[in-house]
């Protein structure tokens, strides 16, 4: 323990600071969650009693989130997009991890920086650059061949590509960190026992990487789920949940159903984050 915080006054002051900081962190989340249970048409004080209507009611004017078609559809699209982004980015991230940990090639450092780069490009710019390229391509194909490529117009496919473009950096970094800790004598032992390369990969290396791959998938899914900036420019008629919520907040004004969605999402993210932490912890015990 640092000596500067040995004196009781300083130590208690420091604790108070930490407490205030966590109150600051929690305040808006609590506000967003708590009003989901307020029996009122508006997410504000006074408190009019506890209700679950904003989740389950199917009577106008209080339509709960589980009966709100547009919100449910948004949830569904978010889920589809998040799963695709997670699968793709874990696959490419695993390839990248092997590429940068196991191989030496010319320009490796340069390519490594290229791999990190998407993380420091503002999301808005990733969105517009991919939108512009896809439209350019679609227009070109339409002019030359008369075929309309629906895939390259704003929609789920472009949203997935846009999110994938920077989430892959995150998954690559997570999986690379794990692969670096791999003790290659384990693979050598397997080779000495006569195993083939494919078999060693399947039975030794990939199981070792599994916790990191699962953690990377969870992180990718969550980042995709909550992404707004990149998605905003690439979204078509199949709007994911964040876009649906934003539209409603700006255009219609908020009712507590948005709080219900917020509460639901916070619960979901917290659970997934917990799973990812438990898996990561497991990993440090093994190695």
């Amino acid at each position: 323990m640092g000596q500067a915080v040995q004196q009781p006054i300083l130590r208690n002051g420091y604790r108070l600071y930490m407490l205030l900081f966590f109150v600051f962190l929690a305040a808006p989340l609590v506000a967003a969650g708590v009003f989901a249970f307020n029996d009122s048409m508006f997410p504000s004080l006074p408190w009019r009693g506890f209700t679950l209507d904003w989740f389950f009611s199917d009577v106008d004017p209080k339509i709960g989130m589980f009966h709100d078609r547009r919100l449910l559809r948004g949830l569904y699209y978010s889920f589809v997009i998040g799963s695709m982004v997670a699968a793709l980015s874990v696959f490419v991230g695993t390839c990248n991890a092997f590429l940068f940990v196991r191989y030496d090639f010319r320009g490796k450092n340069f390519f490594y920086i290229l791999m990190i780069l998407p993380l420091v490009i503002p999301g808005v710019i990733l969105g517009i650059s991919i939108l512009a390229m896809a439209s350019n391509l679609a227009n070109g194909v339409e002019r030359s061949f008369g075929i309309e490529l629906e895939l390259l117009r704003p929609g789920i496919f472009l949203v997935v590509l846009g999110q994938f473009s920077f989430i892959t950096t995150i998954s690559s970094l997570i999986i690379t960190a794990r692969l670096k800790k791999f003790d290659s004598s384990m693979e050598e032992a397997a080779y000495n026992l006569g195993a083939s390369r494919a078999r060693v990969l399947r039975t030794v290396t990939l199981p070792f990487l599994r916790p990191a791959m699962i953690a990377a998938a969870i992180v990718a899914f969550l980042v995709s789920f909550e992404n707004f900036n990149t998605t905003l420019f690439l979204v078509g008629s199949e709007a994911p949940l964040t876009i649906t919520m934003y539209d409603r907040m700006v255009k219609v004004g908020s009712t507590p159903v948005l709080n219900a969605v917020s509460f639901f999402l916070m619960l979901g993210s917290a659970l997934l984050a917990l799973v990812s932490v438990l898996i990561q912890r497991d990993k440090s015990d093994q190695s």
Binding site: Y17, M115, A132, S254
Partner: protein
Amino acid sequence: MTSDAKKLSLLLLFIPFALWIALLIVLPHIGMFELSLKEKIAPRVYEYSLANYKNFVTEPIYWNTLLRTGGVSLLVTFLALLIGFPVAYYIAKVAGKRSKGALFLLCLIPLWVSDLIRAFGWILLLRETGVISTALQASGLIDGPIEFLYNDATVVMGLVYTVVLFMIVPLVSTLDGMDNEMIEAGYNLGGNGFTVLRRIIIPYAMPGIVAGCIVVFMLSAGSYLTPILLGGKNSSWFTEQIYDQFITRYNWESGAAFGFVLLIFTSFVVWLGLKLSGQTLSSTVAKS
């Protein structure tokens, strides 16, 4: 493994990487740059020129917005460092082994909540009919409702809130690796708390500080939701201008130019930060 097989597997692993970087990062940015150099002279007729950039330079509202975005983001970065450093230090060095993990987790939970929900929470707290205004009235401290939204201080606060975690995480991981004996030695050699902080802790934590500052600055300058929702329609944030050109006015050429200007501007600030602190991108951001 034979060298041919090695080469083949290298090639196979390189393909996904190359496709990803080339098709989704490099080509779109080249395309965006090309688009930004086009000027519409008649319907469906374009000519290469610098008109979009000229437009940006001659229209004070545009570059004022950019400078404002940059300035506010620097302020946000500084405040996030100021607020986040003691928190990171507490987690890494002061807290006991048990509470350490719990505190770190507590820090991470808001990280997984969407920007939108956090901004929504702040709106519920701060608006005229919000929790804080109502509570202050009920306690008799103020007479009428107060609107805390739609001013610069709230935007700065909201941005600090959104980004401070990205400052804390790299700081905790660098400070964690620091030997407590280094700090003890500083005190034993007669340094006071401030000297130890300035001469030992901060130099050691520099990679973490730089990594945090870079990520925080980029996130702040590139953010869209927080300035709009907490600052209102007149928050004059640069990403808002880009959105306006692209979606509202459907002027993609000018929007692309603005996007490029933002990219150059933020890259320049990041480059300057790395140069001034003597760090590199892979020694900082990649580690967090």
